[in-house]
Symmetry: C4
Subunit: 218 residues, 4 copies
């Protein structure tokens, strides 16, 4: 539990480093291994002030289990994902600029970069417009991402939710989502990006999921 | 008073952090609780050199009351706001890029992001063109923001003034204003953002003003 | 002399801070008071490695007078300005992105922001295309800026040269030039910025040159 | 060998400094002088964690010779370049935003800036679409850059590969490639950049290759 508190607290620094968030508008959570719990950012606390100690712990219904602060106002969406996607170990939410701009138009980011094929296996899809306050956002995330290769969804008029096998993988998806959303935006500003054949997308995705990175990092 | 000097001096670092200002072109002020005074940035002093000690104190007519430097050249506008909007405890002025670009076209930022509905309750409005040197700028700010949900105004061909219940809230509004001005700009570059229904904007605004953040932060 | 070495070395940090330069592609110089000399950046040395000691001193023909490194490859242009504009105490050259983009189109930045009226008194003009290697660049700068309110010129297909009463003022002009070039670019991307009446530009310029900042900074 | 490990490890900081990379998506390599070996980034290791010790050494077929981590997944492309371009001492790969946007459209960056003429001697060309996994990417790089003045190639739908006489020169080419790709992009957003005459491009390139920088840096 304390490990997960530290992991989640520290990972918020990546959101800051890559300019995915301003003020307090973005959050990371991580499922506690072997328990029906997750660790998430406290609401309204600035990124500079996050510590393992002030992270909060919630159950999979989003109820506060441990912590002196209220959990993130997006906790219900995180909880819904954990309840309905048991393979997910981490969830990230941001309003990163370029991804949110695609979301504001309700337009998926087309897969015209090999890095997108690697990480997302195709386009980054759009999820429905949904209001905060009940399970609508969580449902929209799960409906869109279940069975989809993409680990990120652009929630219409809102921002990005990304998922991963753990919190770090979800943060990586959030970082890559903004990076490719920006590059494809810039490409589109001066014309039409060239398409990548579906077979090539499939081949890149398959290779990246199975080959990339350190087999036994130390 | 010394608390407010420190608060105001420190908050300028947020303008720098979020790239809302260059050189010395932006300023924060905070009303001194229980007195007809406010603390404001000295004119022409760089952000690196701001300290609680070199902040200046003015009365609500903008006259220098305490301090070795001249007050910000925007002091008259801050003072006018404090005189005419007693509920305001902080004022911020920037020329942040995207907000100023909307201001240069005299165009309000439309509310097409849930984060805008949360923070601004609708569009960010445009105020009149006004010259520095008398109360014109202050009047333009107050006329535009009085009775408006938005805590920020885009002064035509000029830049942003934002207000808040205290200096920190005004800085937050300045940060969010640039963030949403940028995202909506980017969205508009490749098409038309989808509208958000007025009832949904109202619902988001109401919830955010009443529910978000820590009830009793420590 | 040693003061000017330190001033010029330190001011390069402002070019880095405001992202006006990459690698070694930009330089600051300052006239040595009371002497026909100026201090300038050494050629091909990275900004991290600049010290008062490795700055170089040139005469007004651009000949190396003091220093272990070769002077900046732009030294001839700086020297030409100092020879022909005795009121100039500092010169800055950058390839900052937005200003250079206007320069690539050979298009002046129109004065549609009050901050432009303040600092530049109108548009930022374009200078001629000129090759490095003789006095062509210097002549283009001087012909464009002599008698012009603007302290910055966009050299066609090249970048920015800015001048000032001292090196710090020239750096400020370079910083403000990029800032307004970017804001006006962004404004123009989605439509036409509103014009500012010439009388208002004149009034803003006059006030800013005479009133702004600390009368007796300490 | 240890020198080259340190050089290559340290140069990755320049990719970070100039925002050419996110997460682990970019790499630098350097040929070991006098040996058929090169030093390259380990795969999937973050830039913060790079040290001389965790760099890996490969032979010119891309086989791991020394190191506890797997080499970068782009190692085959680096190796192909070293095998086929003996004059090359360094290779860099990035997905930097603006360059990759031109690459997504399969469009060369036209030479409309003197800084491009200096560094690249003309346009920055596009290389073919190629899948990772065999020598396709390496072949595309070599076919495009052999006999070309440009030290950088925009691999279609992918990103940038740059080369140099050593690793530092290749990093400089990667930095300058993104800088000019961005400036020309921004210029093109509001109209057509003015062309530079071929004779002027030739003259600038010749001068820069032969005159610029310190003859005997210390």
């Amino acid at each position: 539990m304390n490990d997960m508190r530290k992991t989640v607290a520290d990972l918020h620094a990546e959101l800051v480093r890559y300019n995915l968030v301003v003020w307090t508008a973005g959050n990371v959570s991580g499922r506690v291994p072997g328990e029906d719990l997750f660790v998430i950012k406290p609401s309204g606390v600035s990124y500079d002030e996050l510590t393992p100690e002030n992270m909060v712990v919630c159950d999979l219904d989003g109820n506060l289990v441990e912590g002196e602060h209220a959990p993130s106002s997006d906790t219900a969406a995180h909880a819904y994902v954990y309840r309905n996607m048991p393979e997910v170990g981490g969830v990230v939410h941001t309003h990163s600029t370029y991804a949110s701009a695609w979301a504001a138009r309700g337009e998926a980011v087309p897969c015209v970069l090999t890095a997108m094929a690697d990480e997302f296996g195709g386009e980054i899809p759009v999820g429905p417009f949904a209001l905060i306050g009940d399970d609508s956002i969580g449902q929209g995330i799960v409906e869109t991402l279940k069975g989809h290769r993409s680990k990120a969804v652009l929630m219409q008029n809102h921002g990005v939710f990304s998922i991963g096998k753990d919190a770090k993988a979800a943060v990586k998806a959030a970082v890559m989502c903004e990076d490719v959303a920006r590059t494809v935006h810039v490409a589109r500003q001066l014309g039409d990006p060239l398409p990548i054949a579906q077979a090539d997308i499939d081949s890149l995705y398959d290779r990246y999921q199975n080959v990339y990175g350190q087999r036994s990092p130390r």
